[in-house]
Amino acid sequence: MVLVMRAVALYSDDASRAVHVALREPSKVNGVVDDSNPSGSAGPGEDWEATLCAVAQQDREAFASLFQHFGPRVKSYMLRLGSDHATAEELVQEAFVKVWRKAGQYDPGRAAASTWIFTIARNLRIDAFRRENRPELDPDDPALVAEPPAAADAAVQQKQESRRIRQAMSELPEDQREVIRLSFFEDRTHTEISGLLGVPLGTVKSRIRLAFSRIKTALEDEHAENAQ
């Protein structure tokens, strides 16, 4: 915790301000459909959560549109992790077989569609590139320590938080965004665990940590304000 506080105190470049501003300006956060999105990705108006719920009803049309939007992006993710085209193409197909199979288990109250698809792609790449299992908690385990009772509007809150984080990320300067991408595109075959501790400031790792802490702090401030 001390580490985080220190990191926040030290972090004072434009990126943190950009995140802060994005998180503080509800008008931007709640803005309507953003047609000017330069990367061609879905604006906040496209409801991939609803599309994914339709896939759970075995709606093939919904599945096709989900595949056409996310398939090439998942492929790009696999390519950046070092896979060749043929393998990336196969991993995309495997990812969407999983999407089709598991769509019934998707809960829009817990995760955005892009987040859910990311976790599927991530687990596949761990299996494919590293031949390792992905240890995960079991939500039904009697030993699991449950969350404090969720607010009645948990789904709405999750959606807002998800939108705020993504909005904040899209408003970061490009070099900062690239830092965050890098941290998700990295495959640490020789795990540099020590690299996760006491990172000198200014390195890529410390910048992702600082960006992350900044986003966190801003969200916590906002929660505190809402609670008052």
Binding site: L3, A42, A56, Q58, A64, P72, K75, S76, Y77, E89, V92, Q93, F96, V97, W100, R101, K102, A103, G104, Q105, A111, A112, S114, T115, I117, F118, R122, R125, R130, E132, R134, P135, L137, P142, A143, L144, V145, A146, E147, P148, E161, S162, I165, R166, I180, R181, S183, F184, F185, E186, R188, T189, H190, T191, S194, L196, L197, F212, I215, L219
Partner: protein, 218 residues
């Protein structure tokens, strides 16, 4: 009793990114089972991962990718929606995913002696040279003083231990860096059971322990 010592944000982000070897993921995931606060952090980092996918420059795919995809799912049966289990019996000491790796809960395990005081069960080693093991230190006894050639993470599952001024109880994670020599002591009352992941073999101070180190695989 709330958890006082958590893995750093770097570990949580790296876990969310899928960037940790299985040993480190195991200890993070087991901590998450006991720590709703860190679960929320990982959920936020996964939202960042979702953004990374959403934001990625779409890669050109084969022209027939969609047709192939649709043909492929014709043969795949969807799984039913998850039904929350209701037969919650008595809570085991070892949460998942650790219980699966250990092959049972604490009472069902076969411990091996490790020096005079401790017992252990090796669970997993990965290509990066890291190792995960369960450790059991009898109540009130010290772990032999040791240093590290790398990072060590220790997650308390039962009992508690003190390391210098700091106290670690169920759910707490101690992160020890390479240059520290430390001597954790289990608190009186209950045997202390921990999951420990080490980056590289430990450096024991005692020449005798160093001598048997290769034999016991720690």
């Amino acid at each position: 009793m709330s958890i006082a010592h958590h893995p750093s944000d770097e570990f949580l982000v790296a876990y969310a990114a899928g960037d940790l070897a299985e040993t480190w993921s195991l200890i993070v995931a087991t901590h998450l089972a006991m720590c709703p606060a860190c679960r929320a952090e990982v959920a936020r980092a996964e939202i960042m991962g979702g953004w990374v996918i959403e934001d990625a420059e779409p890669a050109a795919s084969n022209g027939d990718a969609l047709a192939a995809m649709l043909a492929r799912v014709e043969t795949v049966a969807p799984e039913p929606a998850r039904v929350a289990r209701t037969d919650m019996g008595e809570a085991p000491v070892l949460p998942q995913p650790l219980r699966g790796y250990a092959g049972g809960d604490v009472a069902e395990l076969c411990w091996r002696r490790l020096g005079r005081n401790a017992e252990h069960i090796p669970l997993l080693s990965t290509r990066d040279g890291s190792k995960a093991r369960l450790l059991r230190i009898p109540a009130g006894r010290p772990v032999p003083e040791h240093g590290h050639n790398g990072v060590e993470l220790t997650l308390v599952l039962a009992g508690s231990f003190c390391d210098g001024e700091e106290r670690f109880a169920r759910g707490d994670v101690e992160v020890v860096d390479s240059d520290l020599t430390h001597r954790p002591v289990a608190e009186p009352g209950t045997d202390c059971v921990c999951l420990a992941v080490t980056e590289a073999p430990l450096r024991f101070k005692s020449p005798l322990v160093r001598l048997v180190q290769p034999l016991i695989g720690i």
